[in-house]
């Protein structure tokens, strides 16, 4: 990977939240880097810290959160910025796509007003120029008759259309990084494919670095260049999506893959991972997955180091040669 092309570089990121009056870690020792044009998936069950990682990167952590480590966007250390500097960088350089297009658009403001706010603020465009740009953006994300849409409101649009509007807003100011937090979860399967298609096209055309948060490993395989699997605030595996799917190295990834329902599968039953994700604040001291792991032994009581793409003392198979 060319160092110059690296857009986002996260090193040793930890996020702690005040839970019950105590600062409790929810993300620990997170490392990730995304190059221009690259899509990296952050995979894991709900509560594993993937959204919190994204929130830390865009600078919108929950109130009272404490963030340690370094987040470098295009050579600029974001954690050192004042909130207002952060806002200017964040809104302009990072586009964010939310999970629920139903609730991330304002119900009583026109689509045009919402789309142009960021353009006018960050790029200093006039109202007319911003509206014209918004229309172009809508055209770009596959919404014809942009003028009508801009004058309308969110409730007049279907779910897929709304998510297109949200994507158009995310790329509006020409960001170098787009973070998508489960952008297709709330959509129909057919619309999901369209939205993914659109995201892939945008990434290609605009050379975007993309952080794609999901719990769906299979979407990752088609869409992303790299997958980072998270478990209980930890990065447990980092590798090619195909490798994660076909030759998972961490027992947790393997469990995730085994739990994917398959059509025409030989086994009639799904194989869920036994047990539950330990709640935040009650993580085991050693390997956090050990209590649910079939192959855990004594050494797993010590915290494993992240080595060769996996945080495990007993990685399953060796990676592809």
């Amino acid at each position: 990977m060319n160092a110059l092309a690296t857009i986002l570089e996260v090193r040793g990121l930890s996020v702690s939240l005040p839970i019950g009056g105590k600062l409790t870690p929810v993300v620990t020792d997170m490392n990730l880097s995304i190059a221009r044009g690259e899509a990296v998936a952050l995979v894991g069950e709900s509560g594993c810290g993937k959204s919190m990682t994204a929130r830390a990167i865009i600078g919108l952590p929950p109130p009272g959160a404490e963030i340690a480590g370094s987040i470098v966007l295009k050579g600029q250390e974001l954690t050192q910025l004042t909130p207002s500097e952060r806002r200017r960088i964040g809104g302009r350089e990072i586009g964010f796509i939310f999970q629920e297009p139903m609730t991330s658009l304002h119900p009583t403001l026109s689509i045009g007003a919402q789309m142009t706010d960021g353009l006018r603020y960050h790029l200093g465009l006039s109202r007319t120029a911003a509206l014209e740009r918004a229309r172009e953006l809508l055209d770009r994300v596959g919404i014809p008759r942009g003028r009508d849409i801009l004058a309308g409101h969110a409730h007049q649009l279907s779910g897929g259309m709304r998510q297109r509007v949200v994507i158009a807003m995310a790329i509006a100011c020409g960001p170098s990084l787009v973070i998508a937090d489960e952008p297709t979860t709330a959509l129909d399967v057919t619309i999901q494919a369209q939205v993914l298609d659109l995201l892939a096209r945008m990434r290609e055309e605009l050379g975007l670095a993309m952080l794609y948060i999901t719990h769906d490993l299979e979407v990752v395989a088609d869409f992303c260049d790299r997958a980072i699997v998270m478990y209980a605030g930890d990065r447990v595996e980092d590798g090619q999506p195909e490798q994660c799917l076909t030759r998972p190295r961490h027992p947790y990834t393997s469990g995730l893959v085994a739990a994917i329902p398959r059509m025409g599968g030989t086994s009639a039953r799904l194989s869920p991972i036994p047990g539950q994700v330990p709640p935040v604040g009650a993580w085991p001291a050693g390997c956090r997955f050990a209590p649910r792991c079939a192959i855990a032994d004594e050494i797993c009581a010590t915290r494993p180091v992240f080595d060769a793409g996996v945080r495990c003392w007993r990685p399953l198979a060796s990676p592809a040669p």
Binding site: R92, D117, Y121, Q156
Partner: protein, 299 residues
Amino acid sequence: MSPRLPNDMSATTATIAPAARRAGLARRLAAKPTAALAILVLAGLIAAILAAPLLTHASPLKIDPAHRLLSPRTGHLMGTDHLGRDMLAIVLYGGRTSLIVGFFVTAIAMSVAIALGLLSGFYRRIDAVLMRIVDGLMAFPGIVLATAAAGYIGPSVTTVVLALSLVLIAPALRVVRGQTLIVRELPMIEAARAVGLRETHILTRYILPAVLSPILIQASFVFSAAVLGEAALSFIGLGVGAKDVSWGGALAEARDYIQNGWWIVVFPGAALVLTILSLNLLGDSLRDALDPKLAGRRA
């Protein structure tokens, strides 16, 4: 895959349906019998009050001892009071006082409540201070607070407006603050933050419109509380003063003559009851009409 075709279809169907739903607040209100009646009564009252000089030539202040306590008849549609003043004129001009007080109190109390409520709901630090002040204000019985204010400045329309505004700000502020607290946490506000917009911009452009409907409902209740409050203050002699007629003042004076003429009590009383009842009904209907969850259920 070309995403355009299926989307074109969804766009067309999606834009047609809400167009029919967008029937307008006014029409939705008028469709409800109680709301329609309330609006009709209020409109009638306001029209009559504004057209008072056309409806009666009598002055509400002209004392005429020769014609005291006349029952309703031609020439004196609502009779005369114990000083021979025309009751119709008193009701109409008294209503003018009620409207003026109601309008200004609503304007003042709601502007302050909206501004402070938004700030309080949005900024935790302001909230901590402001809510203690509001708690203090709410701990005082409203009428005592208004009485103290009126007694301190002396009776006049301005006094009544200021005193009632002071009393009515606190509950309205709480409504605005509570709604702001809810809206502040919605994903759409987070989305606006992710765009990098300034907090003041988010507050005025994104949060204010989202809290408008409870504000509108609250305003109708503030108006009715102001009309009632003015009547109460005037009734206990701390109201608008002798130079201005008011329903409350008329009722206070009529108290001693109830046995001699029912009309001195009934007409200003009925005007007051009708106004308050209509305002409250309007507020209730507004709440139903503005709440999309109730839209279909109570037609």
